[in-house]
Amino acid sequence: MSVSVQAEDFDVGAEMAALAEGRTDIGAIVSFTGLVRDMAKGAAISDMELEHYPGMTEKALKEIEAQANARWDLQGSRIIHRYGRLAPGARIVLVLTASPHRQAAFEAAEFLMDYLKSRAPFWKKEGTAGGGHWVDAREADEDALKRWDQE
């Protein structure tokens, strides 16, 4: 289990290799990478500014990761979330989950992403030709969270 909140980019392949380093019991690693898109609601995005709450962010991500590890039989997990100014195409977030069989890794990765979308203290501001604006939280993201309570 490990969490990083950083301005720097990350190397997906290197992170995956590090998670499996020295182990032969892992059967599946699921990897999710979130990227900055160049369009939002029909407007071109010049860049994205990611603000966060230092201290609380690390705490919230560790709590979410611990929840996923309590719920699924994971052999490893890794969360990296960037902050600061990012260009279109840049990597924002990485979630890795490892398990003996694929289902736990798939589900846990989805759970982690659903939780950090609306429970980790990050705020996105998109830059457009008409100025910057804060991204609104999506109803769909809140709904995505609820399904984990029902199961």
């Binding site: 979130g34 603000e51 966060h52 709450y53 201290g55 609380m56 705490k59 919230a60 979330h81 924002i92 977030v93 992403m113 950090l116 979308k117 609306s118 429970r119 980790a120 203290p121 990050f122 705020w123 996105k124 501001k125 804060w134 991204v135 609104d136 939280a137």
Partner: protein, 81 residues
């Protein structure tokens, strides 16, 4: 206590954090007190449906008690990932 503001709350109020001397009992009392200060606070807290609060870095609610709390943070719904 330290009061922190993030995203558009920070922009509307114009500062990221400040020390506030208050005898407010709940978060809602503190918000009412801040709103009474100046128009920029009134504007920032005009739509409380869009405001979330954390007490000592844990998500909380507007009716929560401020007893023993050292750090209060106000921010819009989170948009990570």
């Amino acid at each position: 206590m330290q009061v922190l503001y993030f995203a558009w709350l920070r922009e509307r109020i114009g500062i990221p954090r400040e020390e506030v001397e208050t005898s407010a009992v709940t978060v809602a009392d503190l918000v009412a007190e801040l709103r009474g200060r100046e128009p920029r606070y009134e504007l920032a807290f005009s739509d409380m449906k869009s405001v979330r609060v954390a007490l000592d870095q844990e998500l909380s609610s507007l009716d929560a008690s401020l007893d023993g709390v050292r750090e209060v943070a106000f921010f819009p719904p989170m948009t990570g990932g």
